[in-house]
């Protein structure tokens, strides 16, 4: 890895951290969604640097396209006029407890990386594949996806089908339920 890619990597990583911090700290959920979108786009740039262009494109299409549009739609669907977003917590210690938990998790990760010899440079990596294949090419990813990982791929499609049916069923039951006994204050149709 030459220095140029590190010069690209570090500002993009800083952008990703800024996005994550804004997601945790912003008060308005729409601002949270925008900060998360900043984080997702900078992670797509990192995927490009790490020579995974297909994953980067899918990150932009699936996450920044579909999922974030869904999030923003649901957020705007439930914004009431004059709603005040409070960042209050049920426990007064919740800030410090959450910070302690996340610091402990980060410490565990860094300790595991250190124990795994990550920070010792020059450890030769044995080549795992017999023939060195080009990981940057989408063709190799497609070949792996349809030959060696065919079963997980098909199970993923089954999972998507089940999730779609579940979402449709839940939405239908909610829209039919106002005819029953239990009522929410708005929306009698």
């Amino acid at each position: 890895m030459n220095g140029l890619e590190l010069w690209v990597f570090v500002p993009v990583a800083v952008l990703a951290v800024i996005g994550a911090g804004g997601l945790v700290g912003a008060r308005n959920p729409v601002h949270c969604a925008l900060f998360l979108m900043l984080n997702l786009l900078s992670l797509a740039a990192l995927f490009l640097i790490l020579s995974a262009p297909l994953i980067a494109a899918l990150q932009i299409i699936v996450y920044a396209g579909a999922i974030m549009v869904l999030f923003v739609f649901v957020i705007l669907f439930f914004v009431r006029p004059g709603q005040v977003y409070t960042v209050s917590y049920s426990l007064p210690l919740m800030y410090s407890l959450g910070a302690l938990l996340s610091v402990v998790a980060l410490g565990v990760v860094l300790t595991a990386l250190y124990q795994g010899g990550l920070f010792h440079p020059g450890v030769p990596v044995p080549p795992t594949a017999e023939t060195p294949l080009d990981v940057a090419a989408p063709a190799s990813l497609g070949v792996a996806l349809f030959s060696r990982y065919l079963l997980p791929f098909e199970l993923t499609s089954l999972l998507l089908l089940v999730a779609m049916l579940g979402a449709v069923v839940m939405a239908r039951r909610v829209s039919r339920e106002p005819a029953g006994g239990k009522r929410s204050p708005e929306g009698d149709s």
Partner: protein
């Protein structure tokens, strides 16, 4: 090990712990969901970094599958949140503590 893999893994751990902090601290359910997405993306970054390090395409396949699972989770989770909102008209996660309909 290459420096960029080290930086990627450290960034992945940092983003994961920030997402965990958000899930624990925030009380808006949609923001909690977005923090879960942040954690999934941190795991994806680690997968991609290891795929680059080992010159193996398996990490990218796992990242793809994680992405699909995240899409399914968002669909079902947002449907549940919409159902809860329609029923309760409430935005606080602490008040949604009963399992009865």
């Amino acid at each position: 090990m290459e420096r960029i893999v080290v930086y990627s893994l450290v960034l992945s751990g940092l983003l994961f712990s920030m997402g965990m902090l958000g899930v624990v601290v925030r009380r808006h359910p949609l923001v909690m969901f977005m923090c879960i997405e942040l954690m999934l993306n941190a795991a994806n970054l680690a997968f991609i970094a290891f795929a680059w390090h080992l010159q193996e395409v398996s990490g990218q396949v796992y990242a793809l599958i994680v992405m699909a699972v995240a899409a399914a989770e968002v669909a079902v989770g947002l449907a549940i949140i919409v159902a809860v909102y329609r029923y309760r008209a409430d935005v606080d996660i602490d008040d949604v503590s009963t399992l009865r309909g």
